[in-house]
Amino acid sequence: MLFKIALASLINRKLTVFLAIFSIAISIAIVLSVEHIRHQAKESFANTISGTDLIVGARSGRINLLLYSVFRIGNATNNISWRSYQAIKQQQEVLWTIPISLGDSHEGYRVLGTVNDYFVHYRYRNKNSLSFKSGAEFKGVYDVVLGSAVAKKLQYEIGQKIVLAHGVASVSFVNHDDKPFTIVGILNATGTPVDKTVHISLAGMEAIHLGWRNGVPNPGLKINAQDALNKDLTPKNITAVYLGLKNRISTFSVQRRINDTKQEPLMAILPGVVLSELWQTMNIIEKILALIAGLVAATSLLGMITMMLSTIKQRDREIAVLRAIGAPAKFIFGLIQLEVIAIVLIGIALGIGFFWGGMLLSGPIISNVYGLTLTTNPFTLATGLYSLIILLVAIIFACLPASIVYRQSLRQGLTVKE
């Protein structure tokens, strides 16, 4: 009978109850989405680079090295000489190396000078390697391979010629317009900074800087694109090196040896370790997101309680009737609680539905644009946990109207004040 009354009472107040359910559903969907996004962001962040055992750069900050070498954020304070790179490459524990050289840009996208090994050995998220959406790796000096976001945003296609700009400002005053590059490959989306990178060969990088002194072209030493091909295009410096080791056990000994290099101040970092350090520094964002989601949920629950409180006055008679029939005050308390629980449970179910629908709708778009395959299963432990927390908080909140009604039902007795 309690269930029947509670249900009939809710149906009787369809509109307000529907609004309460809807607001709870929205807040559940927000809480779950925020949690999902936070989790996925953390995952995708940690998976920006994988399979690389060490990253070597000039001695500076660990996070700084990670930022410029992996995320293309900021600049290297110094370079690594080609000779040091060769020494590292020749260490017996080293399986492969990817030298990278940064410093130029195209339409605001960073240009990365590297070797074809980059397309072979670079790994992201669960050891996925890069793949070509169209075209292939570099063959000539003036070949360029674009990350998916660059190609999409600038609407570039294979065979098009582009000019690189010196420096990394979005508006550059010095362009390498004497040596245009030809697009030979476009990569698939990865959801990593690779998508926003313009890749050229180290030789190409060297060629466009021939005759430059101190970061500006020397007018007397201008060499055209064709002549440059006959010059020695071995770079003198590179920015950083990704290292893959034969055996991961040797990671620390190789790291120590590189850090102790006497000839040049070098530094090697374990990308996974520094990535998690970096994520720690962004902890506050995570917390703020969680806080906002929590506040949204609390607000919608408070809204529902306000609704319950405002109906108490109108339910005076109903309660007097129930009491007269012999309903214990506990029954009245239970009735209010049950109504709240019903509203919240329906809200949770609907919210999970919204969240699921949202994921199913946005999943293909996200995967297409960012190359991130998000899990679309809404029935995770986290979902259950958050739903349970919200239900418990609702029950605690509902004690307020329920106990007001309880006390009122004891005091008011059989008579209703008009």
Binding site: A8, E318, V321, L322, R323, A324, I325, G326, L414
Partner: protein, 238 residues
């Protein structure tokens, strides 16, 4: 009024009896209710005349076991309900009493059937659907009314459904608090006749409270609450 000597003998057949009952809303004010000695026999119909402010809601709440007097004995069916706990009082009320208010007796969003069955739920009485239909017919209500929602009924119909609910679980005592004040004269007389007739069939005592003295003629006994209640004068008892 009975004397103390006969109380013991009559007690067995009493539906309600009260002795030295005093009720104060607060310690500093004089008692709202002060009843020396009063009883209603089983199966008797009693008209209790009381103007507003005469303490009748307090009296009804005490009989129903919702308010507790600071002093005195309140025997309902030979059970001193002041000795019962709150939950026991609720159960006792559910089992042995039927209450009819002035208006709004029904849960508006429940059907008539559910409203009538409510009393059964809390009293744990075993009554069949046929008995309910029979009762509803006896009260002159059409059978198709049962499935309608309470708020779709006229006031007169609602009051009759209230009678059905009050009687369905066959309580020994019916408490009716101004149940006719929302009815017009014609439906009022019909209502009282039906109520008393059904109560008699069921052998229930009726305590009918009203400020309208013209209704007194329908009842076995008439009591003026102002005389019963010894707060202003002390001449009524013995």
């Amino acid at each position: 009024m009975t004397t103390t000597a006969t109380t013991a003998n009559l007690k067995k057949s009493n539906a309600i009896s009260m002795h030295d009952v005093k009720f104060y809303w607060s310690k500093t004010t004089p008692p709202t209710l002060n009843i020396k000695d009063w009883h209603i026999d089983k199966g008797q119909s009693v008209f209790l005349y009381g103007r507003s402010g005469s303490g009748k809601s307090t009296l009804l709440n005490i009989i129903a076991g919702i308010l507790e007097p600071q002093q005195g004995v309140v025997n309902i069916l030979d059970q001193d309900i002041t000795r019962l706990g709150q939950v026991e009082k609720d159960r006792f009320r559910a089992r042995h009493m039927g209450v009819i208010f002035q208006q709004f007796n029904l849960i508006p969003y429940l059907s008539v059937v559910d409203n009538i069955q409510l009393s059964q739920t809390f009293s744990a009485a075993k009554r069949s659907k046929e008995q309910m239909v029979h009762l509803v017919e006896q009260l002159g209500l059409p059978a198709d009314l049962l499935l309608r929602k309470a708020n779709q009924l006229s006031v007169g119909q609602q009051q009759r459904v209230a009678v059905a609910r009050a009687l369905h679980h066959q309580p020994e005592i019916i408490i009716a608090d101004e149940p006719t004040s929302a009815l017009d004269t014609e439906t009022r007389d019909e209502f009282i006749e039906l109520l008393l007739q059904q109560a008699k069939t069921n052998n229930s005592a009726v305590l009918f409270v009203s400020h309208d003295k013209s209704l007194a003629c329908y009842f076995d006994q008439t009591i003026d609450l102002q005389k019963l209640n010894a707060i202003e004068s002390h001449h009524h008892a013995v």
